[in-house]
Symmetry: C2
């Protein structure tokens, strides 16, 4: 077992020595070793934009070694006695019955999460897909330790009024370097929820701006009616979302979400429309025709809802959609589906927002999942958070507010997250992590396919882009049993939808971690069959 | 002028030496030097709760010296050429026409904000009231530099599923130590907006829980109707807010806000009711009777709206209110007003939420502004952010969700903010900052009163609790001229409402800073009269 890190500076020194050795060891990996892992597309052929566009190149790639590679070790029931004690205490101060166990962030390392009872797990869920470089990554520790950065983090100004020079520079160097194609505007935000809330506001504002014929001032009637929550200032408009979608838990976003009732029950939401999102049969290559029919069926419901809403006097200002419905059950849409969706929004002159809060930041093998969709007209708005550490909104010029103060809040982001994001993007580039993601993801999907062939009574429908993978269990009970058993053998995976297991490892998840996960998965399935 | 801080560790070492000297120099300040600064109340008599309850005691108080006390220095137009250049660049990447100038956080110190053009301002606005201890406070720099804390900040888990031991400990040691009376539950959040959104959700959930007679499971009809945004799962309920209020810019909170139409125009909000918030005549002691009539008039509109909403079939689940309407124009409510408001919510069995996002954290001279209201039945929910650095929600047992997963998100707060908050609360206690706030606030209000006596044609209606002070200008134009002129003589103040100047200094704002601000204010008013 690895020791508690007592001296950070010594640790950083040791790591820098090892990393230097690592950087001289060129890997033999090339993109040609990647197989087509979804829909026939080769995601590796779609490099992302800006300064980091070289990361998809196989030349001179290398894999920095994990300095302290821990080992799976389970020595108590899960949760262990200390976790139970801490949860009992926490529960006296807040309703947090969802807690699984308590983490030990001093002992966690890389892809391995330690808990307070001395257990160590291979973490394939990574705090609901929110940790990009694993635990205690030296690049992040180093970035947070720089005196310059400490001062940035200690003094968070109101960025909409008194921003720092670093802020403007980081907008360009960081955010613009990985901006989705065509989206050259960005608002950092605090979390995915704020990003989506402000994203749908951009769609409403753009819709009304066009309705006003581009007039940039507001008349008295518009301003006074706004204060009364009445039209024309507060118009009756809607956002079209999809059944099974999850976009957040505010009043506005619960009006777009449709994954689980417990999130929205008792809350007076807006009655906004929901279209159907594809539910494919797997493996895709065996059901190409059926799945194309499914795409067209769903696209027809999109058109239908847009028509209905106009009839109801609450027209659709825009569509919000996840590139992969995550919380709802890891449902994928084909490139065709998204290409057609883009065309529909163009046809009706409404906006398209891709919620890449969970899919963005590299886990699908490209910086943005929708980079793989080969869309003629891509999204107008892309929201992000989780692995990007900072929340935020990319948008195109057509969605740029005509007036200042339309999208703003006290902070408009957080220097602390930018300091970490800088380390993340540099590491993605330096360590060629998107190539690693595609390679590890390939191992994962192939392995899951093998498992479903071996245990067709227990699991089916393996799917994934990069390491953003999932497999369905035959029933919700079997899914829950698998997740619990996996925990007991030292592997953390997540659940979603009704009977799906989702895998969300960090970007430093290597092929041997994928093999280890699959081996444990096999053991669990084997034990469940007995 | 002070030098750019090149070596953080050297700085911290120097500071620790000076602070030790400072801590032996007992101040002669006592609470008896405080005058009644609002409504006849002596806020100093209301110590806040928990471990920090001793901070209101005058014994052995001391004022830690500011190590590098900068001086006001204005050498360019504001904004200066570098700020203009940076803003032009930033504007190519985001609509941020609101930017005043660019800050230099490496040169800013204590109560003084430096900009990128070499100007140094006495900052009486402090990033919209969001900086508790001024710039580069040694306690915060030190806390952020501890290796232990660096690891906490580098690894933010999903606190609703895999929290750390530190997290549970900090809930008790930090949040519970300053919890408002009667509120023993807390959910940390990322910002004030998320706090208020989840705060109103708690009110809806509690209302429906009582409607269900305390039944803790949901029936099939409730669950399926939730997914359709229909009753009974998604009931037609409303939140009562006040005219002039500001609670945030999400769809749900724009439905509660009523300060400026630019924030809400084009957004389809909920048509939720607004009652009247008092508009007093000042000085209060000269208009006691008139202001009592105003209180009763406003309270009658609260009762009226509650009645109306029931008739409309959209009953009020709860009331959201700021202890001082800040963004809307620094409008105060009397203790009587809030006491009666509390009684009204009890009578109708609905919830009372105090939005202390701007007033909380000590600026009013007590940890929470409503500590001064002497309420028999205080708020059920108190939200916070800004000076608390972490957002969050305190609530009572009656509002504790009956089920897990009702109030949750990926992060439920941020260790980085907790690390800073720990330094803030320790410093408030060690340096007896609430006493300092009351003393400096007393100087401010007295001085503003003197100014309005000297310049009755320009300013009137001085008011404040602690250093949370304001004064009205005769017109919006005069207000804007004052704010601009103040900037040119090196003092930052904020605007709010239609013609109000708001003062929001940090908690380390001393009497001599107050005198300096007043002196510059006098100069500006004198120059405007010419």
């Amino acid at each position: 077992m690895f020791q508690r890190t007592q001296n950070l500076h010594a640790l950083l020194y040791e790591i820098s020595k090892v990393s230097n050795v690592g950087s001289r060891a060129a890997s033999s990996a090339t993109t040609s070793t990647l197989t087509k892992n979804f829909n026939g597309a080769e995601p590796s052929q779609t490099p992302f934009k800006g300064n980091l566009s070289t990361v998809a190149q196989p030349v001179d790639s290398f894999e920095a070694p994990n300095v302290f590679e821990p080992k799976i070790h389970v020595q108590t029931k899960i949760p262990g006695p200390r976790s139970i004690q801490l949860k009992d205490d926490l529960q006296t101060m807040q309703q947090m019955g969802t807690v699984s166990f308590f983490s030990d962030m001093y002992k966690s390392q890389g892809n391995y999460l330690a808990d307070v009872d001395g257990n160590v797990f291979l973490d394939c869920f990574m705090q609901i897909a929110s940790i990009p470089l694993g635990y205690n990554h030296p690049a992040i520790l180093e970035s947070l330790s720089k005196p310059h950065n400490v001062q940035l983090m200690a003094n968070r100004p109101a960025m909409g009024w008194f921003p720092t020079e670093d802020w403007a520079v980081k907008m360009r160097e960081l955010f613009m370097s990985v901006a989705p194609k065509g989206l050259d505007q960005v608002y950092p935000m605090m979390c995915g929820t704020c990003s989506n809330e402000n994203g749908i506001k951009l769609m409403f504002q753009r819709y009304m701006h066009h309705q006003r014929g581009g007039r940039t001032d507001f008349n008295e009637e518009e301003l006074t009616s706004t204060m009364k929550h009445e039209a024309p200032g507060s118009p009756d408009l809607s956002i079209l979302a999809f059944k099974g979608a999850f976009h957040g838990r505010t009043v506005g976003l619960l009006s777009c979400s449709h994954s689980r009732p417990i999130q929205g029950v008792d809350i007076p939401t807006k009655k906004w429309p929901k279209a159907e999102f594809p539910r494919y049969r797997y493996p895709l290559q065996s059901f190409e025709q059926e799945n194309k029919v499914e795409d067209d069926r769903c696209l027809a419901t999109v058109e239908e809802q847009i028509y209905n809403q106009t009839q109801l006097g609450s027209p659709v200002a825009g569509i919000i959609v996840e590139p992969i419905q995550a919380e709802g059950g890891d449902y994928h849409g084909s490139n065709y589906f998204f290409q057609q969706l883009g065309k529909i929004t163009r046809k009706h002159n409404i906006s398209l927002l891709f919620d890449e809060v969970q899919t963005g930041g590299g886990a699908t093998g490209t910086m943005w999942c929708h980079d793989q969709f080969d869309m003629e007209h891509g999204p107008d708005i892309v929201t992000f958070s989780k692995k990007m550490l900072s929340g935020g909104i990319y948008h195109n010029q057509d969605h740029r507010p005509a007036q200042p103060g339309r999208i703003i809040n006290t902070w408009v982001g957080d220097p602390h997250k930018i300091v970490m994001l800088e380390a993340v993007l540099q590491t993605i580039q330096r360590d060629n992590l998107l190539t690693r993601v595609r390679r590890s993801g390939d191992v994962m999907v192939k392995g899951l396919l093998e498992l479903e062939e071996m245990y067709p009574d227990l699991v089916h429908s393996s799917r994934g882009r990069g390491t953003f993978c999932a497999i369905d269990a035959s029933t919700a009970e079997i899914r829950d049993a698998i997740i619990n058993q996996m925990k007991l053998v030292g592997v953390l995976v997540g659940g979603c939808g009704t009977q799906t297991i989702r895998l969300r490892p960090s970007l430093i998840f290597e092929e041997h971690h994928a093999h280890l996960m699959l081996e444990k998965f096999h053991d669990v399935l084997s034990s469940l069959r007995k």
